[in-house]
């Protein structure tokens, strides 16, 4: 497990030198978006550790953004107070959703979260007096730190990645210890986990609320960073996008979540830059064709994610040697639960 901490330290070190090496606004903004998506994706991966998938993460991301924006803009709260309150609201919403939804069998739980996501998005558009409707909310206050207003992408880079590393650290601690073993036992077999004395429904509820809180925190940061929000980034397609990031990373590996967020965001940037050269006439969201195909290919060839799939491939090519046990990797072995 100390390899995880070393990895986090290396990540923090690498992140600290990025602004010095590539101080352009574009790189900083790109890194910020990756950081925000990584927080959401790591939350989704935490949920995946227990064998659940949510298609409502964009709604939680959006509730976090709208709540923090409204509290700070219309009630004049400090963003530093508004953001935790927004996260609390998201967690409460997730709890209310989870009460009936978590009783459904896995597939129908996904569909319930999908339904919630669509309802929340409709409310964002329709509750015009509160949310500004389709045109969204402008002039959201930015963050200030020690009396200094944060204005540049580089200022936010430090804030967002501090949050992202904290999110990774918390997720790593959870999955590396008792909770993680319990969640993996639930993934292996809910009945088996229950027989070992694991309170299955309570763990599932906790991890669902926590994953929603991750998305809510990222959404709140997003609102104060971009300072303008509208309903469209929080629609169903965003939930599918987060899901793609999580499955690229392997759905059960916390590090995979970070990798997936970075890989998919970079792919998105590349596609947006290159596609117009190949198809100059067409506008709109046609890059979904590529994401759709990528998603299908990953699910067919690497159902446990690219990171993990690469390891399996290496083992295959290396003549069937046993792979080194990667900490935190998709350890679905029910035997882990015996020690929980």
């Amino acid at each position: 497990m100390s390899r995880d901490l070393a990895g986090l330290a290396a990540l923090a070190g690498a992140l600290a030198v990025v602004p010095a090496l590539a101080p352009s606004t574009y790189v900083m903004a790109l890194c910020n978006i990756i950081g925000l998506y990584a927080i959401v994706t790591v939350g989704l991966v935490l949920l995946g550790t227990s064998g659940q998938v949510s298609l409502g993460q964009a709604a939680f991301y959006g509730i976090g953004a709208y709540a923090s924006a409204l509290l700070s803009r219309d009630l004049g709260w400090s963003p530093w107070l508004a953001m935790p309150c927004a996260v609390g609201l998201v967690a409460a919403t997730a709890y209310a959703v989870g009460l009936p939804a978590l009783r459904l069998a896995d597939v129908f739980f996904v569909l319930a979260t999908l339904g919630v996501g669509i309802i929340v998005n409709v409310l964002m558009v329709q509750l015009d007096p509160l949310t500004g409707g389709a045109s969204g909310l402008r002039d959201i206050p930015g963050l200030a730190l020690g009396g200094r207003r944060l204005t540049t992408d580089r200022d936010y880079y430090y804030v967002i990645w501090t949050a992202a590393i904290a999110a990774l650290l918390l997720a790593r601690n959870l999955t590396g210890h008792r909770t993680g073993r319990a969640l993996r036992a639930i993934l292996g077999s809910e009945v088996g986990a229950a027989a070992l004395g694991i309170d299955v429904s309570r763990y599932k509820m906790r991890v669902f609320v926590l994953s929603a809180a991750y998305a809510g925190a990222a959404g709140a940061l997003y609102a104060h960073y971009i300072r303008f929000i509208s309903p469209s980034p929080f629609a169903l397609y965003a939930s599918l996008f987060f899901l793609i990031m999580a499955v690229v990373g392997g759905l059960t590996n916390v590090w995979g979540g970070l990798f997936g967020a970075a890989a998919v965001t970079l792919l998105d940037q590349f596609v947006r830059a290159e596609m117009p050269r190949i198809f100059p006439r067409v506008g709109g969201e046609y890059q979904t064709a590529i994401y759709g195909i990528v998603l299908v290919l990953i699910m067919i060839f690497f159902p446990s994610g690219i990171v993990r799939g690469g390891l399996d491939l290496r083992r295959l090519l290396g003549g069937g040697r046993h792979p080194a046990t990667t900490p935190g990797a998709a350890g679905a072995e029910p035997a882990d639960g015996a020690r929980a």
């Binding site: 397609y237 599918l240 499955v247 198809f279 998603l295 699910m299 067919i300 159902p303």
Partner: protein, 291 residues
């Protein structure tokens, strides 16, 4: 206020008939393969788009519609062979995610092929609408409602009266035992996607003269069709058709009497209610399918 009611119900019935056709596709595929196909709503889009493309090439409506339905069947078969078959037997969630991926791919490819502008199809039989109480029912709406009933009847006759239909039912009931008597579940899966695609294409072509067709109509249609199928219990085709009409009418009534714009929110609230009410039944259904 009340004299609006017949018109709203008729509109709901019309829109509901396409939800019904999408829902039938859901039920066919779920019964035979245990997969929830969220690319189902893309088939009406593809069918209507193909038909519009052929009309633009001066093909008459009837052959254009027939070729469009056949073409969509091929798309459905290709989807099964290229995306579903390689992952067959995987976790149900894996397969659901794949169908979402296929849905995104279809949507993006349709945008590349046909652009973002809406297309319209001509009415099958232009003419004056029929007055029903205080509302009117257009000729095309009659086509939509009539075709949804005919398709359900034809499928019912096929499943109940013919030998291939019996093979499909056997496969839905017990894939392992069907293999023992020489029915290939893989071939049945291919059949399910082909038929579901064709049924969806019929729905798309018949509704396009009323609503138009855009590249991004598939996801919404698929989700509404899914809600209709769940209301009908997910394994019962006639009940899924009724579910389609219910969803269409609820949407129409909400838009007419309450507030426009909340239609889909109410539909999905209904999904949540039905899911939690039918919990036992659905759980048993899902459990049986996974075995």
């Amino acid at each position: 206020m009340l004299d609006l009611l017949p018109q709203l119900l008729l509109t709901g019935l019309t829109i509901g008939s396409i939800y019904a056709l999408v829902a039938i596709g859901f039920v066919i595929i779920y019964n035979i393969t245990g997969i929830l196909n969220f690319a189902q709503g893309e088939f009406p889009m593809i069918g209507a788009m193909l038909c519009a493309a052929m009309l633009a090439a001066h093909v008459p409506l009837a052959p254009a519609a027939a070729v469009a339905v056949a073409g969509t069947c091929v798309v459905g078969a290709l989807m099964e062979r290229l995306a579903i078959e390689p992952a067959f037997g995987g976790h149900p969630l894996t397969l659901i995610i794949i169908t979402f991926g296929v849905s995104m791919a279809f949507r993006g490819l349709a945008l590349l092929l046909w652009g973002a502008d809406p297309y319209a199809l001509p009415e099958f039989t232009p003419g004056a609408p029929l007055a029903v109480l205080t509302g009117v029912l257009g000729r095309q709406a009659m086509w939509a409602i009539g075709l949804s009933v005919v398709v359900v009847g034809a499928l019912f006759a096929f499943f109940a009266r013919t030998l291939p239909g019996a093979a499909v039912r056997a496969c839905a009931d017990n894939p392992f035992a069907s293999r023992l008597v020489g029915i290939s579940p893989r071939r049945m899966a291919l059949f399910a996607f082909t038929v579901a695609a064709g049924v969806g294409a019929v729905g798309g072509i018949v509704i396009a003269p009323i609503t138009g067709v855009t590249y991004d109509m598939g996801l919404g249609l698929g989700l509404k069709g899914f809600v209709a199928a769940v209301i009908g219990g997910l394994t019962n085709a006639p009940a899924a058709v009724l579910g389609g009409y219910v969803v269409g009418m609820i949407e129409s009534l909400v838009t007419g009497y309450l507030v426009p714009g909340y239609g889909s929110a109410i539909t999905f609230a209904l999904l949540l209610v039905v899911l939690s009410l039918q919990r036992e039944g659905l759980l048993q259904g899902a459990g049986r399918r996974q075995v």
